[in-house]
């Protein structure tokens, strides 16, 4: 929510800088995501509906800065008059509308709202419309109570009935859309038509227009769950429904009707009648029994005195109703705007955030040896093995499109389907790992050899299994070696077959390489779970700085050198990277020794890229020459020609 600091100042003295204020709010109540031109952008979590208002935020600031809210005075002496325009309001089912407060304002002139109001509405994100609509929005932002104004003269029979909609009942809302309703929706009806989708959006047929002269001003409380169900069903969310579904202050209606009438009459002629207040459900404050010092100690691990705890809570308007003589047990009363406080742990949280989470002592858990998860450890060790055989790990999405499946000759109806995919790309769950791995190969045309593996979940026939796949664009022999090695290490029989991907499949996936082999092992984690005493997998954690990859294709060339046999290849690899900022991957792909000559041959794939273009031959040659010159002189190496 956007909260202009200047608006907060109506409620509370603010002496800190915007940054200090934002830090305070973040550390004690809600996260301030941005400060922009004196406007705080605060993320209001779903539990803190009370903070969906300027007043709510001001209350929080008052609590953690230990200051007092300014008392709001009505600017005009609000005189109510007898208005001879009756309206009869009936609530069919108390639960759907626990409270309905309203008043009539007569003799209004509809015109633009004052500039200061428009500016604040714009800062919050509303488009100004007219003095009546703007004022209802303004008060909602300020106090969190949604309000609605009906044009009195458009309501037939001077009658309003609040009830559930009937199945397929229709109503045209303010935005001109005809809404088809069911019994989860709360509507208001006059003598002969629906006039309002209660708590969500007004009806087109009862809205305030420039000809309106009498309004019914409504401040009501509606059932949060019904509002939410209807919003979900209609895919509609408004500022009013957002507040209603998070639960509003039951006791806020009267003050808001007064403040609204006050502001409307400040800018327009007119008079207001008295407030009618229908309460079908009696509001009872929430009370919590707890043991302040004990509960705080038990959960937070710190000792705070009884007085200090109660004082923290008092600032949050949480009252202590009674205390046992030994002060161990207390009964607390929660203010009507705090729907999130229900149990003693909730009170402990209030203490914790007022105290500041960064002021807790250090208490580190003891070091211990956990039970071993063999299937995890073994699978990780297996991956290390594959890495040693030159395989790169890929991780793919679990989803596939219909096209992907058809390309792989898989019948989509046999796959698990997502009911609400984001796009056609996320519609099916993969039945094997092969489809994604073929897509990976297609995506890397620059790489002369591709050796990749993935271990992940697949979903064949509605089940979920962990599976492993390896793919190579080189010779299939490597798979034989790997399988043999696995059987030798894990002492399990791995019955897999090496599959050569046929040309039709390669073409379907637009793979230009002709030799692509895969092996797949299903249920890999379970197969390995009974194998014990395998060595530990390794951790290779180093602070590499990632170089962003370009939108333009890279150029890849190879260089081979003959160096002293003791020359560290890594050192040359690192050195090459320094010669040109366009070099982003240097990959040793060959290394062998000439024993008699005390030398060795090393060869590198060198990947270069530019952020804004691709390379021409001349540029590549220049970079190549520079590398060759430098490596030869620095390492006393020789260039080896192929």
């Amino acid at each position: 929510m956007k909260v202009p600091i200047e608006w907060l100042k109506d409620f509370i003295e603010i002496n800190q800088s915007p940054q200090e204020l934002a830090d305070g709010i973040s550390l004690h109540s809600l996260q301030v995501e941005k400060i922009n031109d004196g406007i705080l952008e605060i993320e209001i979590t779903p539990n803190r509906a009370d903070c969906l208002s300027i007043l709510g935020i001001a209350r929080e600031i008052a609590a953690f800065t230990n200051s007092k809210l300014k008392t709001q005075k009505l600017k005009l002496q609000l005189k109510t008059q007898r208005i001879n325009k009756p309206i009869e309001v009936k609530i069919e089912e108390p639960k759907i509308c626990p409270r309905y407060s309203y008043r009539i304002i007569d003799g209004i002139k509809i015109k633009p709202s004052p500039r200061w109001m428009q500016e604040r509405l714009i800062a919050y994100g509303f488009r100004p419309i007219n003095n009546v609509v703007d004022t209802t929005n303004y008060i909602m932002i300020e106090f969190g109570q949604p309000l609605h104004a009906f044009d009195y003269d458009k309501i037939s029979g001077a009658k309003m009935t609040i009830r559930r909609a009937r199945t397929n009942e229709k109503l045209e809302t303010l935005d001109g859309i005809i809404r088809v309703l069911n019994s989860q929706a709360i509507i208001i009806q006059d003598k002969d038509k629906l006039i309002d989708l209660a708590g969500i959006m007004g009806g087109q047929n009862s809205q305030v227009t420039e000809n309106t002269s009498t309004i019914i001003l409504q401040a009501a409380v509606f059932d949060p769950i019904l509002i939410r169900k209807t919003c979900k069903k209609l895919s509609l969310q408004t500022d009013a429904s957002y507040r209603y579904e998070r639960n509003i202050d039951f006791n806020g209606t009267i003050d808001c009707l007064n403040a609204t009438a006050d502001l409307i009459l400040e800018t327009s002629a007119g008079q207001t009648g008295k407030i009618f207040d229908l309460q079908n459900i009696k509001w009872r404050p929430v009370r919590i029994i707890w043991q302040p010092e004990n509960d705080v100690k038990r959960i937070l691990g710190i000792k705070i005195s009884h007085e200090k705890i109660l004082n923290f809570l008092k600032k949050l308007e949480i009252k202590c109703i009674s205390c046992s003589v030994d002060k161990k047990t207390c009964l607390m009363e929660i203010p009507s705007f705090r729907h999130d406080l229900k149990i003693r742990e909730d009170l402990v949280e209030e203490i914790a955030r007022m105290h500041n989470y960064n002021n807790f002592p250090i208490s580190l858990l003891s070091q211990e040896t956990p039970p071993i998860n063999f299937s995890w450890d073994n699978l990780e060790f297996l991956m290390d093995l594959l890495v040693n055989y030159g395989f790169m790990q890929v991780i793919n999405y679990p989803y596939l499109s219909k096209n992907d499946l058809l390309n792989a000759n898989i019948n989509p109806t046999k796959c698990l389907e997502i009911a609400n995919p984001i796009s056609s790309e996320t519609r099916y769950l993969r039945p094997n790992l092969q489809v994604s791995i073929l897509k990976n190969i297609a995506k890397n045309p620059f790489s002369s050899e591709i050796n990749i593996f993935e271990s992940g979940s697949i979903f064949p026939a509605g089940k979920e299994v962990t599976s492993l796949i390896l793919a190579t664009t080189q010779k299939e022999e490597i798979f034989k070696q790997i399988i043999e090695k696995l059987q030798q290490i894990f002492k399990v029989n791995i019955d897999v077959k090496i599959e050569k991907i046929n040309n039709q499949l390669l073409n379907n996936f637009k793979i230009r390489k002709r030799n692509v082999y895969t092996i797949m092992i299903e249920d890999i984690d379970r197969r390995l779970s009974n194998v014990k005493n395998i060595s530990q997998y390794k951790l290779n954690f180093s602070p590499t700085k990632y170089i962003p990859i370009s939108k333009f294709p890279p150029a890849v060339f190879d260089l081979a050198f003959i160096t002293d046999k003791n020359q560290n290849s890594m050192e040359i690899e690192d050195e090459i990277k320094k010669y040109d900022s366009n070099i982003f991957i240097v990959e040793l792909f060959d290394e062998y020794y000439f024993v008699k000559k005390n030398t060795k041959n090393i060869a590198f794939h060198i990947w270069i890229q530019k952020a804004d273009n691709s390379f021409n031959e001349k540029e590549i040659t220049q970079i190549k020459d520079k590398i060759i010159r430098n490596i030869i002189s620095k390492f006393k190496a020789k260039l080896r020609n192929y």
Partner: protein, 230 residues
């Protein structure tokens, strides 16, 4: 061990998971894994997130046609793993999670989470903040500044979020808190006798901050230009 060229590499997410897991194993956390497809009960209801609660909006969900869902967090394993365990426990749950979100450079429909929780007779929130501080300093160095703020997750109370300061900016990195009494009850554990803490962090985000990666989608692109850099 054989040594083939060019060298293979682990995916950077896996490197990060290993680093994290090894840290928590030192403190007795056991690795537990769970299914990626799960039920509404374990993903939401068991975690104190009833069907029509606005807290569900925090985790937009992929639903399967058969009524199950793709887990939105590995917190699904809190109640699941306690069905055959008794406190004291220390558990970590690595795994892939899914969110029904439009993707961009910082949002993905799938990501890796490391969930951790502990239940014992004498656990305080300070145990939670202390171990998380220690962990972040292990990842980003002893000098890194950290801070805790109030946070809201329906399955913890109190709930907190943790930030680390990188290049002079606070970065939000994880959510945590003391396990909500309702969740303990769903585990058939008495909230009067035991307390617990839980945390959940996105590995993708930590990895991106650590290596300076600007686009979360690269992780799942299978692009070797990306994968060969780690």
């Amino acid at each position: 061990m054989p040594n083939f060229l060019p060298k293979g590499r682990l995916h950077p997410i896996n490197i990060f998971l290993r680093k994290s897991i090894i840290f928590f194993q030192k403190y007795g956390f056991e690795i537990v894994e769970g299914p990626e497809i799960d039920t509404e009960y374990y993903n939401f209801d068991a975690l104190n997130i009833p069907r029509y609660h606005p807290a569900r909006d925090m985790q937009d969900t992929f639903w399967l046609k058969d009524g199950r869902l793709l887990r939105t967090h590995t917190s699904t394993m809190q109640v699941r793993s306690m069905q055959n365990r008794k406190p004291p426990v220390r558990i970590i749950v690595p795994g892939k999670c899914f969110r029904h979100e439009a993707t961009d450079a910082s949002h993905e429909t799938n990501f890796y989470q490391l969930e951790g929780f502990a239940i014992d007779s004498n656990l305080k929130i300070s145990h939670l903040t202390s171990i998380l501080n220690k962990f972040m300093k292990e990842l980003f160095g002893p000098e890194v500044s950290t801070r805790f703020r109030p946070g809201y997750f329906a399955f913890v109370e109190p709930g907190i979020e943790m930030d680390i300061k990188l290049e002079n900016e606070w970065q939000e990195i994880l959510g945590a808190g003391m396990i909500h009494p309702n969740v303990l009850k769903n585990m058939k554990i008495s909230p009067k006798k035991y307390t617990g803490f839980a945390f959940g962090m996105g590995m993708d985000r930590l990895m991106m901050l650590y290596y300076g990666i600007n686009d979360i989608r690269l992780s799942y692109s299978g692009d070797l230009r990306f994968l060969k850099q780690f």
